[in-house]
C-alpha cells in the first residue's frame, strides 16, 4: 500500500523531527507501553508523546543483565538496555518518562530508569480491579500526572484542550478499530504484522500525518473488503493473545506467515493502542478518560481478580471465527504464566486449539516455537479416517 510506504518514510525521519522539536523547546514525554498513560493529557499540555516500547531483540536482553535482576519479565528488563545501548533514538529523547505501574515487572522499568539514568520518571499506580474505588485511584494518579505535565510544560491543561485531544484520539482509536474489524467474516485484508505495525507507528508518528494516512489505509482496505465473499476462509484463523507485542518483536508473525493460517485478531496488554473503546465526549474529560483507559478496558493478564477477561477474549475469538489461540508471554511474567494454565484449559474446552509460547527473545527459541505453532495449525487439518488407509 502506498500509504504504508509514506508512513514508513515519515517514521524514518521522525526521530530527527522530534529532536528538532525538542531543541526548539517542545517537551517530549515518553510513556511505558501499557496503554494507561492518556495521550490526550500529554498533547493537551503541549507536549509530544513517544512510547518507549521496543523489544524482541536478544542483544537488549544480554545488555539488561548488567542492570536488572534476571527473574523478571524479559520485555521489562530490556527497556533500560535500550536506553543504555544508545541505539534506539526515541529512548534518548524524553524530558519526562511516564510509567503507570501495573505489576512488579513493569515497576522495574521505572526503578531502573530512576536508578541508572537522569531521566525524570513519573509513576502512578494502576489498580487491578475495576470497582468504583479502583477507578477513583486511577483518576487520582491521572490528577497527579496532570500536575506533573503542567509543571513540565508550563501550560495548563484545560478541559477545552482535553476535549479537542479526546476528539483526535477517539478518531485514532476508531480508525484502528475499523481496520481491525474488516477482518471479521472474511480473509484479512491486512496482515496482522502490518496491522500491529500501524499500532507501533502510533507510538512515534506525528498525529496529523498518522491520522491522514490511517484514513487512507482504511478507505483502501474497506473497498477491498467490500468485494470479498463472506465467511469463505482460505485457512485457519488465529487469535494472538500476548502480554506484550513489543515494537521489533515479529517472530510469531513470521512463523505464522509461513503457514496456511492467519492471525486475525490480537489482544496485547502492552504494545498495542487499546482501541476497542473511545472516550465518551459526554462525560467530564478526566472521567471519560478514566472510563475509556481503565474501566472499560479488557483486563490485563496479571490483574487480580481475572474478572471477565476470559469471557471477553472468548467473545473476540468467536467474533473473528478463530480456531487457534496463540498465547504469547515473556519469560518470568508470572501473572501471565499463571493465567495461561487455566485459560489454556478453558479455551480447549471451548473447542479452540491452544498453544502457549514463552519467549526470552532468544534466537534459539524459533525452532521450538515454529513446531508448536505449526502443530496447533496442523491439528485442524487432520483427517478422521483410519490411519492405515491405502495410498
Amino acid at each position: 500500500m502506498e500509504a504504508m510506504k509514506r508512513l514508513n518514510t515519515h517514521l524514518r525521519e521522525r526521530p530527527v523531527e522530534l529532536l528538532k522539536l525538542k531543541k526548539s523547546g517542545t517537551k517530549i514525554v515518553g510513556y511505558a507501553a501499557g496503554g494507561f498513560a492518556p495521550l490526550e493529557m500529554i498533547y493537551a499540555a503541549g507536549a509530544v508523546p513517544v512510547c518507549l516500547g521496543m523489544g524482541g531483540d536478544p542483544e537488549s536482553v544480554t545488555e539488561a543483565m548488567s542492570y536488572t535482576p534476571l527473574f523478571l519479565c524479559t520485555y521489562c528488563r530490556s527497556q533500560i538496555a535500550y536506553y543504555k545501548l544508545g541505539e534506539a533514538p526515541y529512548y534518548q529523547l524524553p524530558d519526562l518518562f511516564v510509567v503507570p505501574i501495573v505489576d512488579a515487572n513493569n515497576k522495574l522499568i521505572a526503578d531502573s530508569f530512576c536508578y541508572y539514568t537522569d531521566v525524570n520518571v513519573f509513576r502512578f499506580g494502576v489498580p487491578h480491579d475495576k470497582r468504583p474505588l479502583d477507578a477513583d485511584y486511577y483518576k487520582y494518579g491521572l490528577t497527579n500526572l496532570k500536575k506533573k505535565l503542567e509543571e513540565l510544560t508550563g501550560n495548563v491543561i484545560t478541559d477545552e484542550n482535553l476535549k479537542k485531544e479526546i476528539e483526535l484520539e477517539n478518531r485514532r482509536r476508531s480508525l484502528l478499530k475499523a481496520i481491525s474489524y474488516l477482518r471479521v467474516g472474511a480473509d484479512p485484508v491486512i496482515s496482522s504484522k502490518d496491522y500491529v505495525a500501524l499500532h507501533h507507528a502510533a507510538f512515534y508518528a506525528d498525529r496529523d500525518v498518522y491520522l491522514e494516512i490511517l484514513q487512507e489505509i482504511y478507505d483502501e482496505l474497506q473497498a477491498k473488503r467490500a468485494k470479498m465473499a463472506e465467511k469463505k476462509y482460505s485457512g485457519p484463523r488465529i487469535m494472538l493473545v500476548a502480554n506484550t507485542l513489543a515494537h521489533g518483536d515479529v517472530r510469531i508473525h513470521e512463523i505464522v506467515e509461513a503457514t496456511s493460517a492467519e492471525i486475525v485478531y490480537e489482544e496485547a496488554a502492552e504494545g498495542m493502542v487499546p482501541y476497542l473503546n473511545n472516550v465518551d465526549p459526554g462525560l467530564d474529560p478526566l472521567d471519560g478518560i478514566v472510563d475509556c483507559y481503565f474501566t472499560k478496558r479488557i483486563r490485563n493478564p496479571w490483574d487480580r481478580p481475572w474478572g471477565d477477561r476470559f469471557d471477553r477474549l472468548l467473545e473476540k475469538a468467536k467474533e473473528f471465527d478463530c480456531e487457534v489461540v496463540i498465547w504469547y508471554q515473556t519469560l518470568y511474567r508470572d501473572g501471565a504464566d499463571l493465567q495461561s494454565w487455566t485459560y489454556g484449559k478453558k479455551f480447549k474446552e471451548a473447542g479452540l486449539n491452544f498453544v502457549k509460547i514463552e519467549t526470552n527473545y532468544n534466537a534459539a527459541e524459533k525452532g521450538p516455537m515454529r513446531t508448536r505453532i505449526e502443530t496447533a495449525i496442523e491439528m485442524l487439518g487432520q483427517d478422521e479416517r483410519e490411519a492405515a488407509a491405502t495410498l
Binding site: G344, T375, M379
Partner: protein, 270 residues
C-alpha cells in the same frame, strides 16, 4: 505408491518407506553437520533395503526440526503430528505418547485414529533428553548403550534433583565424592529424566495405553522409571525411534496437513 517419511532430528536422521500403505523398510543414521546430506543418505539407505532408489519415490514427507530443509521433500509436517500417526499405526490402542528424542521431549494425547488431541513440549533446553543422558554417560565413564541396563541393577537410586546438564553434573561430582555406587547414580539420573517428563505431561494427562517413543525409548532404564512414576504400564514399539518418520510417510495423502513444497527433480539423485 511409494512414499518416504524422513525425520531429521537433532541427533539422528530416520527414513521409513511405505508402499501402498504398508511399512516395508527403514534406516537410521547420525544427522551429523549437514542435515540435507543426512536426509538424503538415510533415505537412499532405507530405499536400498527395500530394493528401490530415490527415482522410484512418488512422494516424500519430511519432519523433525530440519523438516523445512529437506531439498527433495514434497511436504513438511511437524513431528508431533507424525509421531502420533506412526505410533497409532504400530499400536492402535495407544492414547498417550511420551516421546523423548535427542534434544526435546513431548507428551501427546491421541485418539483412536491417531489424531493429535493435545500436546505439550519441553521448554527452552535439552534437560532430561537424550543429550542429557549422553553427557551423563561420559561423566560416569560408561556408554549411552550401557546406561539403561546398568540403571536397572541399582537397589537404591540416588536422588538427583536436576535434569539440567550442568547442575546434574555438579550433583554427580558431589555424590561421587561421597562414594555413591555408580549404578545408583545412573539409576537416579534415569529416574530424574522420567519424573521430569511425567511432570511436564500432566498438563495433557495420561490415558491408557501409554507408549514411549523416540531414541531414548530404547533405554530400558527410562522405561522402567516411567512406569514407576506413572504407575501405569508403558509400551515401547519395535524401532521406537522411527515413529516420526513412519507417521510422516503415512500422512502423505492428508492434503490439509503440512506445508507443501515444490520438489525439484534435480534434488532427486538416482
Amino acid at each position: 505408491m511409494l512414499v518416504a517419511g524422513v525425520d531429521v532430528g537433532a541427533a539422528t536422521a530416520k527414513t521409513a518407506i511405505v508402499k501402498d500403505g504398508e511399512f516395508i523398510a527403514y534406516s537410521v543414521m547420525p544427522t551429523g553437520d549437514i542435515v540435507t546430506k543426512a536426509a538424503e543418505d538415510v533415505t537412499v539407505e532405507a530405499l536400498k533395503k527395500a530394493g528401490y532408489t530415490l527415482k522410484d519415490l512418488d512422494y516424500v514427507v519430511s519432519t523433525g526440526y530440519a523438516r523445512h530443509h529437506v531439498k527433495f521433500t514434497d511436504k513438511a509436517v511437524t513431528e508431533i503430528i507424525c509421531h502420533a500417526r506412526g505410533a497409532n499405526y504400530m499400536m492402535p490402542q495407544v492414547r498417550t505418547i511420551i516421546d523423548i528424542g535427542g534434544q526435546d521431549s513431548k507428551v501427546i494425547h491421541v485418539n483412536e485414529v491417531g489424531r493429535v488431541v493435545d500436546f505439550v513440549m519441553n521448554d527452552k533446553c535439552a534437560a532430561g533428553t537424550g543429550r542429557f543422558l549422553e553427557v551423563m554417560a561420559q561423566v560416569l565413564n560408561t556408554t549411552i548403550d550401557q546406561m539403561g541396563a546398568l540403571s536397572l541393577t541399582s537397589k537404591a537410586p540416588s536422588d538427583i534433583t536436576s535434569t539440567c546438564t550442568i547442575f546434574a553434573e555438579t550433583e554427580l561430582i558431589s555424590l561421587r565424592a561421597e562414594m555413591t555406587p555408580r549404578v545408583d547414580m545412573i539409576a537416579g539420573l534415569h529416574r530424574a529424566v522420567a519424573r521430569r517428563v511425567v511432570l511436564m505431561g500432566q498438563v495433557v494427562g495420561y490415558r491408557d495405553q501409554v507408549a514411549f517413543t523416540g531414541g531414548v525409548a530404547m533405554n530400558q532404564g527410562v522405561k522402567f522409571f516411567l512406569e514407576e512414576t506413572l504407575k501405569m504400564p508403558v509400551v515401547v514399539p519395535e524401532q521406537p525411534q522411527i515413529m516420526g518418520a513412519l507417521g510422516a510417510a503415512l500422512l502423505a495423502t492428508e492434503t490439509r496437513v503440512g506445508k507443501i513444497y515444490e520438489r525439484s527433480q534435480a534434488a532427486l539423485k538416482g
